[in-house]
Assembly symmetry: C2
């Protein structure tokens, strides 16, 4: 085959050649002028993508490292934080708090739904001594997005609680104006909508979060945000950064700037709509219970009865060269997850849908491929 496989996973995503090739540059000193320049460019463009004037940092770690960083800079032993639980990644947030010695006040919600502002209102009133609300914005494991996030931040703020948002799988692919929504801390990952390779996480920190962070005891060393702030003043990282990934991120952010954040979000949204229309035209059903909470970036689809998840995905990969994800944890074997992130366009949507439809046919589950593809393409026509 001439082309490489099309990676439609919920991260990592396909990386454009411009970004890949940016890594092929000689090593430099991470304490020298060349690195300072790269750092400054990344910082500027990250502020653009986060839509913030807050401090922003890049960590040499994957998204979960970013989560661990925030938890261990903010949570003291015995402190409560509120964590709505509605999938694997929100569970991980709670787990990170627990391991830190904090007390996650878990708000359990049915899988496939999202926390609403009334859930949060009720719990912040009951748990008035909680320090913060830790919330996953886009649950990669169930394909939902928390559309009421702006209200949730307001409710937390009224009770003097911080809001910490895990936006790992959303930043650049869905709306998240950090300053406008007054998000105190926001975390993102390199390998999702920015179409950069995995290995970096990015964090924004607002002034009122700094006031809490400065008072946190037993902060870690590698993940110490105050140390990162100190070094950021000279456009450096406290410890040796993953230089090739910084080269890649710099290029990926430049591409995002060239396209424009709004256009990037609009493109993700349109591709998502095309996926959802086509899936329904296939006669299949979408996993999230409420239409308005369907994610822009992760398309979660119920697997038709008697269809073997791993067989279908194997055929998609081996025969049609398209890779999608399966369900995680309790949803294993129950849903497909299509990553709709990064440089996705009509072409990738159609290739993926066609591979899915054909693989389903191959296992004896007939879907109306023509109707599905037509529905997808139509979304791009208006």
């Amino acid at each position: 085959m001439v082309n490489k496989e099309l990676i439609m996973l919920p991260g990592p995503t396909n990386v454009p050649e411009r970004v890949l090739y940016a890594m092929i540059q000689p090593m430099i000193s991470h304490r020298g002028a060349e690195f300072h320049k790269i750092y400054s460019e990344i910082e500027d463009n990250l502020k653009y993508v986060f839509q913030t004037e807050n401090d922003v940092f890049v960590l040499s770690s994957s998204g979960t490292g970013g989560v661990e960083c925030v938890v261990s800079n903010l949570v003291n032993r015995g402190e409560k934080v509120i964590v709505p639980i509605f999938g694997v990644f929100s569970k991980r947030l709670a787990e990170a708090v627990r391991r830190r010695g904090g007390i996650p006040v878990e708000v359990d919600l049915p899988l496939g739904t999202t926390p609403k502002s009334h859930h949060i209102k009720e719990v912040v009133e009951r748990e008035a001594d909680a320090k913060a609300v830790f919330i996953v914005y886009n649950e990669t494991s169930t394909g939902v997005v928390v559309r009421e996030l702006p209200d949730i931040v307001k409710i937390a703020k009224e009770k003097n609680m911080l809001t910490v948002v895990d936006a790992v799988s959303a930043l650049g692919g869905d709306k998240l104006p950090v300053d406008e929504w007054e998000v105190d801390i926001c975390m993102a990952g390199s390998q999702k909508c920015l179409a950069c390779p995995p290995g970096l996480s990015m964090i924004s920190v607002k002034q009122n979060a700094w006031e809490k962070i400065e008072k946190t005891e037993n902060k870690p060393f590698y993940f110490d945000l105050t140390l990162m702030r100190e070094y950021a003043a000279k456009k450096e990282t406290p410890f040796t950064p993953a230089i090739p990934l910084f080269y890649a991120l710099n290029e990926a952010l430049k591409m995002m700037r060239e396209e424009g954040l709004e256009r990037s979000i609009e493109r993700h949204k349109r591709c998502a709509e095309a996926f959802y229309s086509a899936i329904e035209a296939y006669g299949m059903t979408i996993y999230p219970k409420e239409k308005e909470t369907r994610s822009n970036t992760v398309i979660a689809v119920n697997i038709p009865e008697k269809v073997d998840d791993s067989l279908v995905r194997r055929i998609m990969q081996d025969k049609y060269k398209v890779v999608i994800g399966g369900g995680m944890d309790k949803l294993k074997g129950k849903i497909f997850r299509i990553g709709n992130m990064g440089k996705v366009t009509l072409a990738e949507v159609v290739m993926t849908l066609s591979a899915l439809g054909n693989a389903l046919k191959d296992v004896g589950c007939h879907v109306n491929i023509e109707a599905g593809l037509e529905a997808a393409i139509k979304v791009f026509d208006h």
Copy 2:
């Protein structure tokens, strides 16, 4: 200039094109067969480089992240560990222990010297309740190596204490047979003697260390070694790995295997000898106090009186295109640090010495360049 700058920093080092270009491969699923193959190859070759049958892991973080991982998997609140202090990186070890809530029993040694077995014997006897000895094998900040490490491990073992070795700047460039010396935990970094880009750390864990780790409370999430062991069984990492750096590490380890570990160490040693001979022929002095503890991988040289450190290094970089390091912390402005790591040969040694000699001349500090280069080349002749 045709050539890029020659990076003779104590990490990152020059990365061979084979390793750089290995990063230009499409993204893959980190839960799929292709990644499993890469993981297995890396695991095999890491065991070869560590000379161990112990479990080995690769973390998507820099060397300091590896240190933080080990500290937070091993040290409970209020537990003592012994840490000989003889430079910036041993101080960092103690700081990581302190931040974790542990008690570092610091053994202060003069800068430029190394801990000897009698220092450790005295302190393990006095502090019988300490859990482990945490020791930097090769102090990157002062250019020394702990030649008595095998004895130190034995002394700790007699008192039932673990030995944790920070070998970030030594592995592959100096002797460190983990199993033969019975090192319980050993940490290394990608960007030093393996000539890989920065961004990964590697850790080996022996069975008796596992017994302690399993009992540690409040282990972190991103850095949980037991979770890494669980995923290693299926040749995966718990969280999304920095895929391009895994490609690079795999290639770098293959190159190490092709050369052979012993030959790599021998090459580093010979280049170091050439540096030391030449520096002395220049009429300059070596920073480490004792000849037998001079590092194979970091050449620390006293800056002649009245010579401006940053001016010399600027001239070396701008005019002669060779980058070396300066002193850290208390040694800032007092020593040069030449990284002698990765794919160094006679050619790089001579280029670096020539650039150093000429830059010194440019600032009015005359050294006998011819005698120095002759002394260096002679080391390669026998």
